[in-house]
Symmetry: C2
Subunit: 419 residues, 2 copies
């Protein structure tokens, strides 16, 4: 079938498309598959109860349900939700914003599609600008959103060894140069896939540099603070006129409602709303509706800190213990889990590439994601890119335990018989 | 702020963006505004009851609510919904399809963004293909979705005068030429804005021509049959391997759930799913969940035919009577309302452009849409383009009645004092 370049790039050759097909095909055989691959959040019963109660309240409140499903929101998203969210962020965190600084999108992914193509790509004067990812590994979902080729550029991280098996990535500020070919900078905090949380001082330094260069700093806060706050270190929510913070209701437990949140200076928010109109008329309303009361009361911050963060932190600790146990004697490292819900496993000197390890694991019905997907824009030949796996620890303990055991077995086998 | 060409085209210069801003600003002063401008469907109480019961059933069915909001669907959309919909269309209407022929999107608008840019735009061999709209006026929402400039081309319709005041557009087949520069053809049926319903024989002829030329025929069935079936004439639901039927749950009463449905040959559906993954990971799940039981039982077809069609048909008749009454003595024509929920008012020899009339009406707090927006791709200077208004009759009777009365007054005034 004859299709356009857009189709070839986005619909056919997209890595994330192939990855999601693969995950989907694996899931279709469900039952005896150990799914450590996807980004689906856990079902946290205490949190789910809030959303169930919220839907019951919507149904009980005269025609609120009918309005929630039956009336389009404006292209920028539900006004009441944006109003209470602006209030929360202003009062609790001192952000100097109003509802005009907030637009909703069809999930974070849609926000990145919009923002990266707004600031990256071809400009009227003929120049082509890139999105700089100052810290790789970085989120696989960015890889394919570029409407122009080679939208990303990235630099290698510095690696801090915390002990024999724990490490942490840092931005290599010495090699961070923001030329005229950079349209925006983006980091995820916590980082998907590594679980790294940029320190406040790293973020401030990045913020200073980008502000000085007049280049927007996009912070992918999908797992971040103040909600869902899947963060196990100290980290403050920061925002200023040069920063575009992208949040989401997904990891709070509402992924299927596709609710992304962009917080930025007003002209950026207006542009996001305009693109929403062209892409899908308006964002979906139900996610905002389910969360409005939680945001109005501030409860969303408390439940993130008191329920969600400890829930995933315990899972992270447990997953780390399992790795320590099963990988004993193997050459391995793990990024210190500081947030999100992934273990980033580094297998130095692995005799096979991570993609081959992924295939072998899939044959044993353990689904992970090969680390090589998570280096968008990093063109260096760097062996590290093929030595890592991302494992979700969001699923139940038995799945995670059996998965990690099988991974260790396959790594051991690969070292024993490389070919 | 410095932004890319994509940003300039989609976020800044977009006509639909400006239109929606304008509608939004008008709505923000709600209360005493007569809104005949938007595309929001009516609240049909008998239909709303189905969706309320559906949500209650989801809440009552163990953890179905939690899965509905808490688990990502695959990029092609909810599998169970696609399965029961394929079954319905196969069994009741003889379409030779399975769930692999169906993908969901974030509303119809998103489907058109994807499809028009898949088939239109720049191809690998350097050619640039257009989307041909064989019958204008055509839906304003298409206008801005092109990632490349001048994505559309269109031809003037033939006009059949049914009586002194009623007319109907027809495709001018004599002037319909499908050159190598055409990537796909698209028609909305019923047509938004005119309420025209292409006859079965017109549609078959179009289908034959496109099949012979190996160019996909995209049918925008957002108001069409078998659901929501806002159609007052005889019209069959048709599909074949060369046809891409785009449906929606919006006009059924679920616009805020953003649920579009693309029914096409498998390779097209796979591409739509891939683009979904890049644009927003996966479609929202709640719309599909609310409608699944209605589709499984076939009730969706009955309620569309027995509740929704008569509801809007009565409103159409009433609106037509109001026009007949208030426009008495004026030079006016109305497209025969055959479906959708708009009156398309043609004011031949209007001394002012429709956009100016729109402005004067807005000053009197009556919001309509100027007809000139609805000719994407038609570059001819044709006075007709500036002589029409689109009025929604979906709102309550008092609003529609007062709105039409004010429009007639302003038209009369314009004729009396043109400048």
């Amino acid at each position: 079938m004859n299709i356009s370049n857009f189709g070839r790039k986005i619909a056919v050759q997209s890595g994330i498309g192939q990855l999601m097909d693969d995950l989907g095909a694996a899931l279709a055989q469900k039952g005896d598959v150990l799914m450590l691959g996807g980004g689906n959040p856990a079902h946290v019963p205490e949190v789910e109860r809030y959303f169930r109660r919220s839907m019951e309240a919507i149904l009980a409140d005269s025609d609120r349900f009918e309005r929630t499903v039956g009336d389009y929101d404006p292209p920028g998203g539900n006004v009441e939700f944006r109003r209470v969210l602006a209030h929360l962020l202003r009062e609790q965190f001192g952000w100097d914003i109003s509802l005009a600084n907030i637009a909703l999108t069809s999930g974070s992914q849609s926000a990145f599609f919009i923002l990266f193509n707004l600031f990256g790509g071809r400009y009227e004067d003929g120049t082509v600008k890139k999105i700089l990812l100052p810290l790789t590994p970085e989120y696989v979902g960015y890889s394919d959103v570029g409407l122009t080729p080679d939208l990303f550029t990235a630099i290698r991280p510095k690696i801090e060894h915390l002990d024999q098996h724990l490490f942490k990535y840092h931005i290599d500020f010495d090699n961070l140069r923001i030329g005229d070919d950079i349209g925006a900078i983006c980091i995820s905090r916590p980082t998907n896939p590594s679980g790294n949380v940029l320190t406040d001082s790293e973020l401030e330094r990045l913020s200073d540099i980008t502000r000085a260069r007049n280049v927007p700093l996009i912070v992918d806060n999908a797992y971040g603070t103040p909600f869902p706050h899947i963060i196990y270190t100290d980290a403050d929510p920061i925002w200023d006129q040069n920063t575009i913070v992208c949040m989401s209701l997904s990891k709070l437990g509402l992924p299927a409602t596709r609710t992304g949140i962009v917080i930025a200076r007003e002209e950026v928010v207006e542009m996001v709303a305009r693109v929403n109109a062209v892409l899908s008329l308006a964002p979906v309303r139900i996610g905002a509706a389910l969360a409005t009361d939680l945001v109005r009361s501030g409860e969303i911050v408390r439940l993130s800190r008191d329920l969600i963060a400890p829930f995933y932190h315990a899972k992270a600790q447990h997953a780390l213990e399992l790795v320590t146990k099963h990988f004993d004697g193997l050459d391995y490292r793990v990024h210190r889990p500081e947030g999100a819900f992934f273990l980033w496993l580094w297998l130095p000197n692995l005799p096979i590439a991570s993609l081959e390890l992924y295939e072998r694991l899939k044959a044993r019905r353990v689904i992970v994601v090969s680390g090589h997907y998570f280096f968008p824009g990093l063109t260096d030949p760097w062996p590290h890119k093929h030595e890592c796996l991302r494992l979700s620890y969001a699923q139940n303990e038995a799945t995670v335990a059996a998965g990690i055991q099988t991974i260790a077995e396959e790594v051991r086998r690969a070292h024993a018989a490389p070919s």
